[in-house]
């Protein structure tokens, strides 16, 4: 192996932050649902995939993008992806998970895998997949690249990063500063007691799915637009797994943990490539998962009492 090129380190760290922001967005959905339901929602990565497709259809088919203000279009894409995914998340919870509320946890887990397969393969019937479509470059009006102290930063990545941070701040505000957020923390802390204290648990669970799915939708829209990803119905699989690892890394059920975990995953991936092992980029996620499970099963921020 050749020696490391230290001059490239700042660029790789910036790349990692940009990638990590998206992982963090998806990881939040995993961790929130786990917080209230103790369920690993395997369909979450596929909700992110649906977000990508909603953004694609909004930009390329449902609206005439030539006749529109590009900023309005981007905003519309973001809103439609978030709202569409929120509704999908709510639907999944109502149809697939709620009837199993009192079933053994393993049944719900298997149902989650079933929902994931349904979205991936059912999506083949609904979405354009062959050849894989992608969002045109001109939709992304933030395509210029800036040079900041020798580090190339694309405007769109900066916007993605900014939007992600804003969404996380809103989430933090919601969870810690509002009545509903307090109820959500109560449910996460003790499901049954919260119900006895008059918290409408079903409503809280629904809201959790809505928020988590909307964040995944936002991540899907931003990634598809900024990177020009060709879309398939399996596009959510790998990001979903990596975000799940990020959530476990931060301590599943812990919101700041998911964010930190996402950034660590993004940076780790880039550093592996920097170290000359690009072919093993995807393996990093699993190596990290194994190491956490061995050394700190609760994750970096996880502990039995401190959740959400």
């Amino acid at each position: 192996m050749e020696s490391l090129d230290w001059g490239q380190l700042p660029q790789q760290l910036v790349n990692g932050l940009q990638l990590g922001a998206i992982y963090a967005l998806i990881a939040l959905g995993y961790t929130m649902v786990y917080g209230v339901l103790k369920l690993i929602n395997f369909a979450h990565g596929d909700v992110y995939m649906v977000g990508m497709y909603l953004a694609y259809y909004t930009a390329m088919q449902w609206f005439n993008r030539e006749a529109m203000n590009p900023y309005v279009l981007l905003f519309l894409m973001l809103i439609i992806s978030m709202v569409g995914c929120a509704l999908l998340g709510l639907l999944i919870e109502r149809v697939a998970y709620r009837p199993l509320r009192n079933a053994p946890r393993i049944s719900v887990l298997i149902t989650a895998i079933g929902v994931s397969l349904l979205l991936e393969h059912g999506g083949l019937l609904v979405f354009k997949t062959s050849p894989p479509p992608s969002i045109a470059q001109d939709v992304n009006v933030f395509s210029q690249t800036m040079d900041i102290f020798g580090v190339a930063v694309t405007q769109s990545r900066l916007v993605v990063f900014g939007v992600t941070v804003v969404l996380m701040f809103l989430l933090w505000y919601f969870v810690t500063q509002t009545q509903t957020g307090r109820a959500m923390r109560a449910v996460s802390h003790d499901f049954n007691t919260a119900a006895l204290m008059g918290v409408n648990v079903s409503r809280i669970i629904g809201i959790t799915f809505i928020i988590g799915s909307a964040l995944a939708g936002a991540g899907g829209m931003m990634n598809a637009t900024a990177l020009g990803t060709p879309l398939t119905t399996f596009a959510g699989l790998l990001p979903g797994v990596k975000a799940f690892v990020a959530a476990v890394l931060g301590g599943i059920g812990n919101i700041p943990g998911a964010v930190v975990g996402g950034f660590i995953m993004g940076i780790a991936e880039n550093l592996v490539v920097w170290g000359g092992l690009g072919g093993y980029k995807d393996a990093v996620a699993f190596v990290i998962l194994i190491i956490i499970l061995l050394l700190r099963p609760g994750g970096l921020f996880g502990s039995p009492v401190d959740k959400v």
Partner: protein
């Protein structure tokens, strides 16, 4: 061209079950010494396997239409002294295991004398093994993987191999583009991509160039900034991307955003119009190797595109239309020249195919049963691919 072999659990189970059933089938296998089907006035039956469903559908469908067009023209022109050729089509659904069962059906039930297909190497391989065992010739349409024709003397192909296209692009990059320091990006998950990168490296270095970096990714990745950052640090003058358009598009966009201003070069895995969409301005000015293009200035191409349009209402969307047509042309020519109408004689006639006028260039079958023909370098323009240069056939011993 394609080597994707994606299995789903369900399909594997189904395939295993099918294999079990076929294993007990008393009529299966054993049609080695097959001769003419039926009396001399019955049509001559040949088969075609194609991905008419699944992810390879656009290519599979084109390959079928091309072959059907060639058979129709042959029959309209009087067939073989008045005797018609019948083309029986079976769907492989883009799956290797289905390629095997489809071929077995053609051989056992329909008793075809020869088989055409597939567009993907991964699906051609099991089909070719079935044909080789049964002594029925098969002409692969788009399978570029080198080892396909090594299966046996009954396996031919109508396209060039990855060895040739890798060497041809290295030659083009060195001589025509004047590149000397090239970086490579390889899809570690695809044997097609790793094989093409290997041969490109050998050929490019043998011409005197340097490969300054090789970075890897895996099919399905969407963020390539880390690899491109490494590559940029090596200051190359060209970037060879041996993978499929699915990843090359985002690579092109992100290369441009990162300020890595180099010429991009690639193989026939780039051949989809979606590349232009996903690559944006980053892919414009890139060059890749292909078999053929609808807008080439040759009579064979003009006639073919016109006939195809008349028959199906649109131009062939991929190069597989022309390759399907050419594979069928090789077979029909062999049927004309064969001493007898049986599988063995047709095989022998195919192996002596020489300077046949094909849509994708002049067709000769070499001693290794591969088509010896030129590669066409296409340039990516804003709205389409444009023929740039033909690289004549040459032998590169990797």
């Amino acid at each position: 061209m394609f080597h994707r072999t994606r299995f789903s659990g369900g399909a594997l189970l189904a395939a295993a079950a099918l294999a079990g059933i076929l294993g007990c089938n008393p009529t299966g296998g054993s049609n080695g010494g097959k001769t003419a089907n039926g009396g001399s006035e019955d049509p001559i039956k040949i088969g075609l396997i194609a991905s008419l469903n699944g992810e390879l559908k656009p290519w599979g469908e084109d390959s079928m239409r091309g072959a059907q067009l060639a058979v129709k023209e042959f029959n309209d022109a009087g067939g073989l002294n008045g005797r018609k050729v019948e083309l029986i089509v079976e769907d492989t659904a883009s799956r290797p295991e289905q390629g095997k069962t489809a071929t077995e059906k053609l051989l056992n039930e329909d008793q075809v004398l020869a088989v055409l297909g597939e567009v993907a190497s991964g699906i051609t391989q099991p089909a070719a093994e079935v044909c080789q065992a049964a002594g029925v010739p098969i002409i692969a349409i788009g399978a570029t993987r080198v080892d396909i024709t090594e299966i046996g003397e009954y396996v031919f192909r109508a396209c060039f191999t990855d060895n040739f296209q890798g060497a041809a692009m290295a030659k083009f990059a060195y001589e025509d583009l004047g590149l000397r320091r090239v970086a490579m990006l390889t899809d570690k998950k695809q044997p097609y991509s790793t094989g093409l990168s290997d041969i490109f490296r050998k050929a490019f270095e043998s011409f005197g160039g340097t490969i300054v970096a090789e970075e890897f990714y895996e099919g399905g990745n969407i963020d390539f900034q880390a690899q491109l950052t490494n590559i940029k640090a090596k200051n190359p003058d060209g970037l060879f991307c041996s993978g499929y358009f699915n990843e090359v598009g985002p690579i092109a966009r992100q290369r441009e955003a990162l300020g890595l201003n180099v010429k991009m070069v690639g193989g026939d895995g780039w051949d989809s119009r979606e590349l232009i969409q996903s690559g944006g301005t980053g892919i414009i000015g890139g060059f890749f190797c292909n078999h053929y293009h609808n807008s080439e200035d040759r009579d064979e191409v003009r006639n073919f595109v016109e006939a195809f349009k008349k028959e199906y209402g649109n131009e062939p969307a991929t190069a597989m239309g022309a390759l399907g047509y050419d594979a069928a042309t090789i077979l029909l020519d062999a049927i004309k020249r064969a001493e007898k109408i049986d599988s063995k004689s047709i095989r022998d006639a195919i192996s002596t195919t020489k300077d046949l006028k094909g849509v994708s260039g002049s067709l000769s079958i070499g001693p290794d049963r591969n088509a010896q023909k030129p590669a066409l370098v296409l340039e990516v323009k804003k709205d389409d691919f444009e023929p740039y240069k033909q690289v004549p056939f040459f032998v590169f011993e990797g």
